[in-house]
Symmetry: C2
Subunit: 313 residues, 2 copies
Amino acid sequence: MDRAQKLVTDMLAGHRLSLARLISKVENRDDDLAAIMKLLYPHSGKAQVWGVTGPPGAGKSTLVDRMAQHLRAQGKKVAIVAVDPSSPFTGGAILGDRIRMQQHSGDTGVYIRSLGTRGKHGGLSHATKEVVLVLDAAGFDVVLVETAGVGQTELDVLRLAQSVLVIVVPESGDSIQVMKAGLMEIADVFAVNKSDRPEADKMVRELVTMVGMSDHTAESWMIPVHKTEALRNLGVDEVIKSIEAHQQYLTKSGQRDVKAREFLKNEVADILAERLHHTLKGAFETTSGQELLDQLVKREIDPYKAADVISGV
Amino acid sequence: MDRAQKLVTDMLAGHRLSLARLISKVENRDDDLAAIMKLLYPHSGKAQVWGVTGPPGAGKSTLVDRMAQHLRAQGKKVAIVAVDPSSPFTGGAILGDRIRMQQHSGDTGVYIRSLGTRGKHGGLSHATKEVVLVLDAAGFDVVLVETAGVGQTELDVLRLAQSVLVIVVPESGDSIQVMKAGLMEIADVFAVNKSDRPEADKMVRELVTMVGMSDHTAESWMIPVHKTEALRNLGVDEVIKSIEAHQQYLTKSGQRDVKAREFLKNEVADILAERLHHTLKGAFETTSGQELLDQLVKREIDPYKAADVISGV
């Protein structure tokens, strides 16, 4: 049995260390990756993937941890993937994992992993997608993907979730931002966290009004709006019930299949993009590749022409 | 003369509206884009491209506007490209442009344009690169590329600059963040802005120490650290002198050519990635593409195998 096969077999048997190693291999774009994903893939496709996002300081991590506790109480195995594309300025991901794991210490039904910008261009959302596939194959019932905002990479990451919870805070003006932000397009459930603050009810009312104004038919999903206080464990059950209802809606409406196909299209696209990246790296290292660059620098040819040459058009 | 040719000719003749239209075509990935870039490319390669980044609230826009004023006083034509990949939460880019333009009103030697997340996956840094090429061809002497942080997209964007100014603020602890962030790797010049705040000198000392500790030889560039107060126009000339010195260093050391080649490699790679994206979109819309997706959903084949099928391996 080769290395990749052994790791996957051990992971499927529940070895936590093998799981961690496989995830590291995905993060580092290991040479064995294609072999590993081929072995894992038939075991995937069972997990529910929930995305969670919101502005910095909205209390995402606290709410996600509470949600994990509630899901554990239902007997479900839960994985949390915290994605922070801007980690250069924030840092501390690994330390954060340790602190968060302590709250679930001794519980093998919870797994937490942070992913940062270690990868290259476009690499983080692809790596996250494959980490979710690994956790899915490992038998986690729910994979919670938590992102630290809604930049481009974060939106890419959220696309891999079946249901997306958007967390906001009650400060006035936020609802206008939410509207601008096109968050209505990505939210399946809203939580107004820190709802002990004075403006909470106003925020809830505004969100409910916005949801009501958006295009929808009798069959379409109406985004529920919940008040939560993650620190005091209030409203968390209601949020989970709404996401579970959304999961049922996905199945009934046929949207689950649509989303699965979209996810797989993107995965194939990412694989091909990564291969292209490797091909190109090789192409420019040859003598003719260097000559092509010389011509580009001298403005004798243009980049679109060079692209034709490299792809043999 | 066809449409693309006419726009480019008008833009090269100095028509401001043609320039704005060309930039919009780049942003919207217009069908004429390849034709446009082929016409423009021979006119590019003369501008200096300066990147400016730093954490939110560091006063980037104010300092960039001051820098533009100083460069104008030298008789240079200046373009500012403000890139904000997280615009969903921040918004207001267009309004911002208008307000900023007013400060330079009536001066055709200054051009300001904001770019947001309108594009798709990986699209923003590619579009920014081509917008810079357009401005370069249009005859701007310096293109200032301002980003709102150092997430993945922002780092991609900064790679297209020849010189990078990193702006920080004096608050204690920031210097450790700077180190963690790997900002030393991207900074060519540091500015400690809002340097009237109490911790400014401490911050400068820490940055100078960090620069001194980093690997360098007698020939390598030593990152200068400046104190600035953009609001009061203090320290701006010194920052510009340091960037100009860095530009001279790039030429003398041969690094300018290395960077130009890297930039062009990435541009060709982006073009091919964009073509791949279009090819794939088509591939999945065919009957055999849909069957491939069916097999993927049923877990009969895995995404790596599907990638082989599509690329004809």
